[in-house]
C-alpha cells in the first residue's frame, strides 16, 4: 500500500497480528515438540522430565540441557514396530496417490472438456463432499463395507461370492477410504490446470496429423504436470500422517504412523516418544512440504 519503511501503525498491525498468531500457535509449538522429544518419560503431571525452571537461572538452564537425550530417537530406530509403521504409511500414501491420479485424471479431464456452462456445476459437485465432514464420509463406508453391509449383500445376491467377505479391517478398506476422501484434492488442481490449457495447441496438433492419443501424450500431459504435482503433494503429505481412516477402516495387525503416535500419546501416555514420532514424521515430509510451498507461492503470488 505504501513504500516499505514508512508504513503506518495500522498497516503494520495488518501484518503483525496474523504473523504473531502463527508464530505463537504454529511455530513455537514445534520447538516445544522438539524439546519434549528429547526428554524422558516420567510419572508426573506433565508426564516428562526435565522441566525447565526459570527460578534456577543459569544453573537451571545448564542442568536442563544436560538432561536432554536422544534416547527416544534411538528407540524409534531400534524398535521394528516404528520402522514398520513408517514404511506402511509411505506405502499407503504412495499407492493411494497413484490410484488417485489414475481415477482423478480422467475425471478432471472430462470436466475440463465439458460444455462451459456445465463446468461450474461440476466443480461445485466435486467440492461439496469436501465441505461435508471427513468423519461422516469415512463412516459412510463402514455402512457399506461391514460384514453384513450393503456390498456383501449385493455380492451375495448376484452370486458373485458364496460367503460374506471381510472387507473391513483390511488394506483394501484403507485404500477405498483414502481414495474416496482425497479425490476432490486430486481432481480440483488437475482441473484447474487442464481448464486453463489452450485448446488451439491440440487443434494445431490435429491439423498437423497427430493422432489424438499422441497429442494427449505429447501436449496435454506435459502441460498438466504442475497440476499433477500439486494434486499429488496435496494428497501424499496428509495421507502419510492420516489417522482417522486407518483407525476406522484398517486392520489391527499393521498400524500407520499416525495411529502409532495416537496410541503412544493417548493410550501409553508416553509424550516424549509421541513427540519423537512427530519430529521424525515431519523430517520425512519436510522435502515434500517445501516443494509444495514453492509450488503454492508460484501459483498464487506469481500472478495468473
Amino acid at each position: 500500500m505504501s513504500a516499505p519503511g514508512k508504513r503506518s501503525w495500522g498497516a503494520r498491525a495488518v501484518l503483525l497480528v496474523p504473523y504473531l498468531w502463527l508464530a505463537a500457535f504454529f511455530l513455537v509449538p514445534f520447538l516445544i515438540v522438539l524439546k519434549i522429544s528429547l526428554s524422558q518419560t516420567a510419572i508426573a503431571q506433565p508426564p516428562y522430565t526435565p522441566l525447565f525452571d526459570w527460578s534456577d537461572g543459569w544453573a537451571g538452564l545448564k542442568a536442563f540441557f544436560a538432561a536432554l537425550s536422544a534416547d527416544n530417537y534411538a528407540m524409534l530406530g531400534s524398535d521394528a514396530l516404528y520402522l514398520v509403521a513408517y514404511l506402511k504409511s509411505i506405502e499407503v500414501a504412495a499407492v493411494s496417490t497413484a490410484l488417485l491420479l489414475i481415477i482423478g485424471y480422467p475425471m478432471a479431464y472430462g470436466m475440463a472438456r465439458a460444455p462451459r456452462g456445465l463446468q461450474p456445476l461440476l466443480v461445485m459437485l466435486v467440492i461439496l463432499p469436501f465441505w461435508t465432514s471427513f468423519l461422516i464420509r469415512v463412516y459412510a463406508w463402514i455402512n457399506i463395507l461391514q460384514r453384513d453391509g450393503l456390498l456383501n449383500d449385493l455380492l451375495l445376491r448376484l452370486h458373485l461370492v458364496d460367503a460374506p467377505v471381510a472387507w473391513l479391517a483390511s488394506d483394501t478398506a484403507i485404500y477405498i477410504g483414502v481414495v474416496y476422501s482425497y479425490l476432490p484434492f486430486m481432481v480440483l488442481p488437475l482441473y484447474a490446470t487442464l481448464e486453463k490449457m489452450d485448446e488451439q495447441l491440440l487443434e494445431a496438433a490435429a491439423d498437423l496429423g497427430c493422432p489424438r492419443w499422441k497429442a494427449f501424450w505429447q501436449v496435454t500431459l506435459p502441460l498438466s504436470l504442475p497440476g499433477v504435482a500439486a494434486g499429488a503433494l496435496l494428497c501424499f503429505i496428509p495421507i502419510t500422517g492420516e489417522f482417522v481412516i486407518p483407525d476406522l477402516l484398517g486392520g489391527s495387525e499393521t498400524q500407520m504412523i499416525g495411529q502409532t503416535l495416537w496410541t503412544e500419546f493417548f493410550s501409553n501416555k508416553d509424550w516424549p516418544v509421541a513427540s519423537a514420532i512427530a519430529v521424525a514424521l515431519l523430517g520425512l515430509l519436510l522435502v515434500p512440504i517445501l516443494v509444495y510451498e514453492r509450488l503454492q507461492q508460484r501459483t498464487i503470488e506469481g500472478g495468473r
Binding site: 502463527l22 504454529f26 463412516y139 515431519l282
Partner: protein, 270 residues
C-alpha cells in the same frame, strides 16, 4: 473441438457416482425403520426422534457450533489480514517465514499440529477445553481463509485502490470502502469453509480438548468405534443437510461469477 466424447462423460459420471453413492446410501438408511443395516424396514423418523432425546449428542453439537462460529470469525479476520499483507506489502522482512507458516498447515498431518498445540497449552499451564479447541481451530483454518482471499486479491484490479488513494483516501478507508466490497464474496466463502472445517475436525479437537468440552466429531467418533448405529446415520444426515443448505444459500446470495472464481481458486490452491 468441444464435443462430448463418451469417455469424458463416463469418467465424470463414474467419478461423481463414486463421490455421492456412499453419502446417498447413508442418508437413505438414516430413515430406515429397522435397526439392521441390510434389512430395509420401511421409512421412519424413529432415529431422529431417538436423537432428540440424546442429551449428550445435542450438547456436543451445541459445543461444536459455538467453536465453529467463533473460530471461523477469528480466522476470517486473521486470514484476511494475512492475505492483504502477502499481496499488498511487496517484500518485507520475514516474508518467506510468513508465507511458509501460512501454507504449511494446509498439508501438515493433523496429528502433528494437534500434538504440538496440546504441548504448547500444557507448557503454558492453560486449562484445556472450549477455548483451547477454539484457538487451535483458528490457527489451522485461518490459513485456508488466507489462500482463498489472497487468490481474489491477486486477480483484482488495483487501479481502483490506487485511484481512491490518489484522491486522498486514507489506506484504511480505501480498504473498507473499495477493497472489502470487491473481495467480499471471497471473505464470505472463506468464513463458510472455515466454519465447516472447524465443525468437521476430529484429530486436533481430540488433542486440545479437556474435561467438559466434547465436540460433535469426538462424540460421533467414540460411538462409531463401537459399530454402526442408525442414530449416527441420522446425525450425519442432519450435518450434511446443514452444509448443503449453507452452500446453496452461498450460491444464491453471492454473485455467480464471483463464486465461480472462488471455487476455481479453491480448486487451484487448496
Amino acid at each position: 473441438m468441444r464435443r462430448l466424447s463418451v469417455f469424458n462423460v463416463v469418467a465424470v459420471a463414474l467419478g461423481l457416482a463414486f463421490l455421492y453413492l456412499p453419502i446417498v446410501i447413508l442418508v437413505i438408511y438414516s430413515f430406515n425403520a429397522s435397526r439392521l443395516v441390510t434389512v430395509w424396514g420401511g421409512w421412519s423418523l424413529h432415529w431422529y426422534r431417538a436423537l432428540m432425546s440424546d442429551r449428550a449428542m445435542i450438547d456436543a453439537a451445541w459445543t461444536s457450533l459455538r467453536i465453529a462460529a467463533l473460530s471461523a470469525s477469528a480466522a476470517t479476520g486473521l486470514g484476511t489480514c494475512a492475505a492483504v499483507a502477502l499481496t499488498r506489502f511487496g517484500s518485507f522482512r520475514g516474508r518467506l517465514v510468513f508465507s511458509g507458516m501460512v501454507y504449511a498447515p494446509l498439508v501438515m498431518p493433523e496429528v502433528i499440529t494437534g500434538l504440538s498445540l496440546l504441548l504448547l497449552f500444557v507448557a503454558l499451564g492453560v486449562d484445556r477445553g472450549f477455548w483451547t479447541i477454539t484457538i487451535a481451530h483458528t490457527t489451522l483454518i485461518m490459513c485456508f481463509v488466507t489462500v482463498i482471499v489472497q487468490s481474489r486479491l491477486v486477480s483484482f484490479d488495483r487501479s481502483l485502490e490506487e485511484a481512491a488513494m490518489d484522491l486522498g483516501c486514507p489506506p484504511l478507508k480505501t480498504f473498507l470502502t473499495v477493497t472489502l466490497p470487491l473481495i467480499w464474496p471471497a471473505v464470505a466463502a472463506g468464513w463458510m469453509l472455515a466454519f465447516s472445517l472447524s465443525l468437521d475436525d476430529l484429530v486436533i479437537a481430540s488433542f486440545t480438548t479437556g474435561p467438559g468440552a466434547t465436540t460433535l466429531p469426538i462424540r460421533i467418533y467414540s460411538e462409531v468405534r463401537l459399530g454402526v448405529k442408525p442414530e449416527i446415520n441420522a446425525v450425519c444426515t442432519i450435518m450434511i443437510a446443514v452444509v448443503a443448505l449453507i452452500t446453496i444459500v452461498a450460491s444464491l446470495t453471492t454473485k455467480r461469477g464471483a463464486l465461480r472464481r472462488e471455487r476455481a481458486a479453491l480448486g487451484a490452491q487448496v
